[in-house]
Each structure stands twice: as structure tokens, then as C-alpha cells.
């Protein structure tokens, strides 16, 4: 009996969907818009995250050592820095490497290179490049270096300078911007999602409002609530499924265009992201579509089943 009625409900859902051509089309279009908004926000979040991560990655703190610093002293400091929970990576640049880098950077600057040759010996010290897991953590790393642990004390004698204080303003500003951007992004996402869900809900409610007399007739014929509700839920599921396919199809040419022309601006290729995350995005909007469609139908029908 259960299977018979399930089969009937599914079939009735498809038949109603087909026979209510115009209304179904309208509902599918609105649902497509809603799901497109959701998919667009997924892509936007990805771009935002990627850009912010890239910016954060560009921030680091460099410790410049005096020329007299011994490599083992530097290595001791390096390994104790690596033990700090805030530190992501520490990379060591030897004095020779620093000199090579410097010459490369200034290879067109004849005067500087000449001055360097004049000096004869290597005027540059070794460096440690520190990257924190999060930009807000540079302060505590800097505090560690200025602290009174043995390692810090002994290292301080060979440290020429730490550029944290120069970078501090930039780092603080960046922290504020990234935090703000994330909050704003989340806020916009939330508002857009709520607005489009409301529009979709109202559209589906309207399609069921048109069928309210039908629901009354079904009740009088002796159909129980589950049996009346079923085909409407099924229609909601069909709206969601078709719309998620349409929304995904819509993003193919769109991201292809963005990938071709906007990769430099975004810092990432949106089309590649779309392709590599195709099934994840599709699954998210398919499930959202089905859930939204069936919940909207459920609530809308409920009103006419009361008594």
C-alpha cells in the first residue's frame, strides 16, 4: 500500500507539473534565480577567501642579523621560533644568499653594485623570514623576541633589527580590512539568500493558492492529508531539481567568460574553480533547491489542510 501510494504521489506530481505548464515555468524560473544567487555567493566567497589568503600571505616579519652573528645562534632562534604555536613557517636566508639576492635585485643599478664591489666583504647579515598563521599573531611573535627568555636574550645581541614595527601599521590595517571584508561578505550573503528564499517561497505559495479549491475537493472526496500534500511536495522537488540543473548550466558560460577576462582581477581562475568544484556546488544547490521547494510547498499546503 505504501509503495502504491508513493508511486501514485510521484506520478501525480509529474502530471501536475506538466499540466500546469505556465505556473510551473514561472516557479522554475524564480527557483533558478534563487539557486543562482546561492551558487554565485559560493563562487564569490571562494574568490574573496582566495584574495584575502593571498594578501595575508604577502605579510611577514623579517629578522635581520648583524654580520657577526653565528649561524648556530640563528639556528637556535629559528628552532625555538618554530615551536611557537602562532608561527607557520620560518625560513633562513644566509648572508651569502642575501648578498646574491641583493645583487640580483639591483643588477641594473650600476652605482649600487659598484659601491658593493668597493666594500669587498659582505656587508649584509643573515635573515629569518617569519610567517604567522594569522596576521594578527605577529604581535605576540614580536613580543617573544623582546621577551626575557634565554633564547631571546642571547639572540638580541646579534639582531640588527626586526621590521615588525615598520610593518605594524600595515599589518593592523590589513587585519581590519580582511576581518571587515569577511563580515561584510557574510552579511551580504545572508541577506541575499533570505531575500531570494522569501521570493521563492511566495511564488510556490502562489502556485498552491491557485490550487486551493482543488485541495478542498480532494478533502471532500475523502483523501487524507498526506495523500493531498504528496503531489505538491513532489512538484516542489521537481522545481528544485530542474532549477539547480538550469542554474549550474547558467554558470558555465558565465564563469568561462570570467575565467578568460577577469583572472588577473580576481587573482584566480573562476572557471577552473567552477569545474573542479562542479559536483560540490551542484550538490549544494540541488539539495538547497529540493529542501526549499518541498518546505515551501509543505508550508503552503498546510494552510489549506487545516480544520
Amino acid at each position: 500500500m505504501f509503495w502504491t501510494s508513493t508511486k501514485r504521489v510521484i506520478r501525480a506530481g509529474f502530471i501536475n507539473f506538466r499540466r500546469n505548464g505556465t505556473i510551473s515555468t514561472a516557479a522554475v524560473l524564480i527557483t533558478t534565480v534563487t539557486l543562482s544567487v546561492i551558487a554565485g555567493l559560493i563562487l564569490l566567497q571562494a574568490v574573496l577567501h582566495f584574495s584575502l589568503a593571498q594578501i595575508k600571505d604577502k605579510v611577514d616579519v623579517t629578522i635581520y642579523f648583524t654580520t657577526t652573528a653565528k649561524e648556530e645562534q640563528i639556528m637556535t632562534l629559528k628552532s625555538s621560533l618554530e615551536k611557537l604555536p602562532e608561527v607557520a613557517t620560518v625560513s633562513y636566508i644566509s648572508a651569502e644568499q642575501a648578498l646574491t639576492d641583493f645583487r640580483e635585485r639591483h643588477q641594473d643599478d650600476y652605482l649600487t653594485i659598484q659601491a658593493l664591489d668597493e666594500v669587498g666583504s659582505n656587508p649584509l647579515g643573515a635573515e629569518l623570514d617569519i610567517k604567522a598563521k594569522d596576521p594578527s599573531q605577529y604581535e605576540s611573535i614580536s613580543n617573544f623576541l623582546e621577551g626575557d627568555t634565554d633564547v631571546a636574550q642571547s639572540a638580541n645581541t646579534v639582531i640588527e633589527k626586526v621590521n615588525y614595527h615598520q610593518n605594524k601599521v600595515v599589518i593592523d590595517r590589513l587585519n581590519a580590512i580582511t576581518a571587515g571584508a569577511e563580515k561584510l561578505g557574510f552579511g551580504i550573503t545572508l541577506v541575499l539568500v533570505i531575500v531570494s528564499i522569501l521570493i521563492m517561497f511566495n511564488t510556490i505559495r502562489l502556485t498552491i493558492f491557485i490550487a486551493r479549491e482543488e485541495i478542498g475537493v480532494m478533502r471532500l472526496v475523502g483523501a487524507d492529508n498526506r495523500y493531498i500534500r504528496g503531489p505538491f511536495l513532489m512538484e516542489g522537488v521537481i522545481y528544485g531539481t530542474i532549477s539547480s540543473v538550469l542554474a549550474m548550466a547558467l554558470y558555465y558560460p558565465l564563469t568561462l567568460y570570467l575565467g578568460k577576462h577577469m583572472t588577473d582581477f580576481f587573482g584566480m581562475n573562476v572557471f577552473e574553480y567552477y569545474l573542479s568544484n562542479f559536483f560540490q556546488i551542484f550538490l549544494i544547490i540541488l539539495v538547497s533547491g529540493i529542501i526549499l521547494g518541498s518546505i515551501s510547498s509543505f508550508i503552503a499546503v498546510k494552510k489549506y489542510l487545516k480544520k
Binding site: T4, V217, L220, V221, G222, A223, D224, N225
Partner: protein
């Protein structure tokens, strides 16, 4: 079969629709309920179908107090009653066959029963050739015959026909009455409301006359007298 005990119905706007009705209907009867518009005919029917609750009094369907039922049991009760309305109330998105099949599906009948019974009942109301027509493609008389077919398909114990001929011309009216008489001859109880004198007299059975929410006459011999 149906018993009204001191039933009153007063709507929230204080208008009295039914006042202290006592009425009993036996199995197999064909009862015509007549009266002017606003006399309480439709309210009476809504009370039997549990669409409205009485303000006072009780209504029994056999031994069941209709207004003590929960919504599940009301659904069960409605499966025992076939209803025909003046405005047909067919499902507009389903064709003739599907309209009847839906009532059978709602009653939990199997696909085999549906496939064998639906053509049969369509033949009974002479709609075999219009099996796959949608309601908007049928004439008023055909729609009402379809509605009757739907009402009788699950072999209900009672058929309620609320002004079934109100929208029909004399020929269609005659046909509908003939079908109802045939159904009654087969043993089904019928309650019919109408204000058509010709209908009542051609049936020639019990007539209950309502006026101002009260039973003013209850004749065994089918006289229409207002």
C-alpha cells in the same frame, strides 16, 4: 442512519441558520430537502460532512457522533459518503477518468480495481466516449454526471447531493434525477437539496421542508409546498 438531535447552528455574526432541528433518516431512504435560499439546507449538509460544527445538539451517523471525531476519522467518515455539488467541484487538472480514479486512490483501492471499475461507472453515467476529456471540455450536464460517477464509485452508504440540478437545463436535470433514482433503487441512501419543484415531484419520495432554520413540513409523499 442519520440522526439530528436538537441541532442548532448560529454563525459568529449571530445569524441563526438552523434552530432546534430533529430529524432522522433511515437507510435506503431518498430524502429531498427543500426550502428557500438561506433556509439552512446547505448548513444542514455541511454539518453531516463535518465541515461545520453545530452550536448545540448532536448529529449521529449510525452510532458515530460526527462532531467528536478527529480529523483522521473525519476523513474515514467522508469515505462512506459520496457528495455531489451544484458547482460540480471536479479536479480541473484531471480528466474524467482521473477524477474518478482519484477518489478510488484516496480510498486506497488497488490499480487493478481502478482499471476495472472506472470504465464501468463511466458507462453507467454515459460518459465512456468522454473518458479522457478534462472538465472544461465537458458540458454542465456531463460534468454533473461525472461528479455523480465520482460520488458513487466507492459504493458509499450515503449520497449527498447539494442542489445538483441548480446549474442544469431541464433535460440534463431529468437525466441527473433518473441516475440518482437508479442509485437509490440499488440501496444507497440519498439526501438531495433542491428548490426545483419539478425535481421533487418527479422523485415522489419523502420531502423535508425547511424555513427560517426550522423543519416546517415532513411529508412521506413528495409534495413541494412553500
Amino acid at each position: 442512519m442519520i440522526y439530528f438531535n436538537n441541532v442548532s447552528k448560529i454563525y459568529p455574526n449571530k445569524s441563526t441558520s438552523l434552530a432546534d432541528i430533529n430529524l432522522s433518516i433511515s437507510p435506503g431512504e431518498f430524502v429531498s430537502i427543500v426550502g428557500h435560499s438561506g433556509a439552512g439546507k446547505t448548513t444542514l449538509i455541511k454539518l453531516i460532512l463535518a465541515e461545520e460544527r453545530p452550536t448545540a445538539g448532536t448529529i449521529f451517523f449510525e452510532s458515530i457522533d460526527i462532531h467528536k471525531l478527529n480529523s483522521r476519522d473525519i476523513t474515514k467518515l467522508r469515505k462512506r459518503i459520496g457528495v455531489v455539488f451544484q458547482d460540480f467541484r471536479l479536479l480541473p487538472n484531471k480528466n474524467a477518468y482521473e477524477n474518478i480514479a482519484f477518489a478510488m486512490e484516496a480510498a486506497g483501492k488497488s490499480d487493478e480495481e481502478i482499471a476495472s471499475d472506472v470504465p464501468h461507472v463511466l458507462e453507467l453515467v454515459d460518459l465512456t466516449s468522454k473518458m479522457y476529456h478534462f472538465p472544461h471540455q465537458l458540458s454542465g450536464g456531463e460534468r454533473q454526471r461525472l461528479a455523480i460517477a465520482r460520488a458513487i464509485i466507492n459504493q458509499p452508504e450515503l449520497i449527498i447531493a447539494d442542489e445538483p440540478t441548480g446549474n442544469l437545463d431541464p433535460i440534463n436535470t431529468y437525466e441527473v434525477v433518473q441516475i440518482l433514482k437508479k442509485i437509490n433503487d440499488l440501496g444507497t441512501t440519498i439526501i438531495l437539496t433542491t428548490h426545483n419543484r419539478g425535481v421533487v415531484e418527479s422523485i415522489g419520495k419523502r420531502v423535508v421542508t425547511l424555513d427560517g432554520g426550522k423543519v416546517v413540513r415532513d411529508d412521506k409523499d413528495g409534495k413541494y409546498s412553500i
